[in-house]
Amino acid sequence: MRSGLVILLVTCVAVAAFALIVQNPFLLDLTFAALLYAVLGQAWNWVSGYAGQVSFGHALFFGCGAYGAALANWHHFSPWLGIASGIVAAAAIALAVGFPCFALRGHYFSIATIAVAAIGEIYVKNADWLNGAVGIEFKLASAGLGSLQFTSKLPWVFLALAVFALVQLATIALENSRMGYYLRAIRANQDAAASVGVDARAWELRALIASAAATALAGSLYAQYTLVVEPESILALPISISIALVGVVGGLGQLWGPALGALTYAFLAKYVAAQLGGSGRGLDLVIYGGLICLIAALRPSGIAGYVRELFARRRLAG
């Protein structure tokens, strides 16, 4: 537990120092994206890593947050109110959907999350109160914490860093709590856990609600950052899948997995795509896909698992 806190502190200081030094919008954007994806990956990890119920529908929660912020801007409310209502909406949907769906296991659950998120996407595309397929563009306001709009990228990096730290702290707490042990027990063997009186559905539901809330928070930050929400780029299946890939490339059910996965993803999606994608011929996809294949075949415990193995080996050797 202590080592986790120390690493977190060092990481935060390092990221903050990096952001203050570089000043380059491109690199700051990359940092923001990495932090945001680390938050999304970690939130997903609570349900799919620790509790072992693989979700391909997290874009729905992401969308709740994004649309909450956008609606607040549209109707001239404070963005903070929008963020809060987005989080509440995500948690409510998680409860309503999670309760029946946690009766399903394995792939049946995963396909159900796809189905629910797809229904949500189709609904939003046809809902006039959310401006349908056209989406919502934010009205510009004077910069500041009140409007949650900034002309520089620096405040965004710090906001994302704060949320990232919060989510990591929550995960450290989770790992050392009763809930963490129960979730792992459920993941390992649901029937055995049930036989000693662990109510799988109740614990999974708690994990999902927390996960939905954190995902919504990240969604509203993303919306305030880009100042546009629109179903295709917020709610579609590829968004859910990239959230899941961040979680798994880093390493499922591991504290630092999502952060490492997010760093890899942000680097590949933003940097390598910019360098290599110039041909527009999908070389970036080839590299990313190839990397996932290699990790799945050779290091199924993800990057974090591999790093841990390396340390363990060195300790053994030493």
Partner: protein, 287 residues
């Protein structure tokens, strides 16, 4: 009584279902034998469609190219199993989910690299008209595709139910350890399942080129429906996949007409959710 377009919608829905069935049967076969969902299944379809396009460019009609495409996909599927999927099975269950996802991204990227993102189609001179049955019109390409799907489904069913190898495969899917003890080579069965499952999608790709067009992301349009069909019918159940596909085809077409095309997939997803919440193993799946 005035039926309006109902008979036409029923026929169109069932015909659409046949093609979904062919894609879904390959997927469910692979799952049944080794508990792996091939998320790159749609990309296998895409490869089959490009192959069919290639054959048509040298003058071979899709219907005639079908056996060659199916054979090529059989070899490809078995190859992918041997060099890649086999390793995934040694890891935790999520390794196979994400491994096949990686394969999806990789194959899409390669297709974009080699073929660009242009949309291409076969100018099929053989089947272009429509057959009229009273008020009902059936496109010849759709009819040929549906008949082809039916033939392939019957061949697959006979193979699984009545041949020695088919029985071995079923034994493997029921109890892997028992199958090993009985002297069945599980690795060989797995490779065979990947080969045959891919051959199904190969046949589907050849038939789809009669009515559809190919581009690197084409798999996504069909794969999502195929996953829902397979889960609806029950993972691993070939008959379930067939019934599920016809149901999905009907619900999509009828829902589109009587509710609204904009939301025509909502009834499909709702159907899935309702069925699995009542029967968590799907329509014809085993517990």
């Amino acid at each position: 009584m005035e039926l309006g377009p109902l008979p036409q919608l029923l026929v169109s829905g069932v015909l659409a279902g046949f093609v979904f069935a062919l894609i879904a049967m390959g997927l469910t076969l692979i799952f049944g034998v080794m508990d792996v969902v091939n998320f790159a299944h749609g990309e296998f379809l895409m490869i089959a469609m490009y192959l069919t396009l290639g054959f048509s460019l040298v003058g071979l009609q899709p219907v005639l190219a079908l056996p060659f495409v199916a054979l090529a996909l059989f070899l490809f599927g078995a190859f992918v199993y041997r060099i890649f999927v086999r390793r995934l099975l040694e890891g935790p269950p999520e390794a196979s989910i994400f491994g096949t996802f990686g394969l999806l991204v990789l194959l899409q990227g390669l297709a974009q690299f080699f073929f660009t993102s242009d949309v291409r189609s076969v100018n099929n001179a053989w089947f272009t008209g429509a057959v009229r049955l009273g008020p009902i019109r059936i496109g010849e390409p759709e009819l040929v595709a549906a008949l082809g799907a039916l033939v392939v489904a019957i061949v697959l069913y006979v193979f699984i139910e009545y041949t020695e190898t088919g029985r071995g495969m079923r034994a493997t899917s029921e109890d892997r350890i028992a199958a090993t003890l009985m002297g069945i080579d599980v690795q060989r069965m797995n490779a065979l399942a990947w080969g045959i499952g891919s051959a199904c999608v190969g046949a589907a790709g050849a038939l789809l080129m009669l009515t559809y067009q190919v581009y690197p992301r084409v798999g996504a349009e069909f794969a999502l429906t195929a996953f829902v069909v397979v889960a609806l019918g029950g993972f691993g159940s070939i008959q379930g996949a067939f019934v599920g596909a016809i149901l999905v085809g009907l619900v999509e077409v009828l829902g589109g007409f009587y509710i609204s095309p904009a939301v025509k997939l909502i009834p499909v997803y709702l159907l899935y959710l309702i069925v699995v919440l009542l029967r968590p193993q799907g329509l014809l799946g085993r517990r």
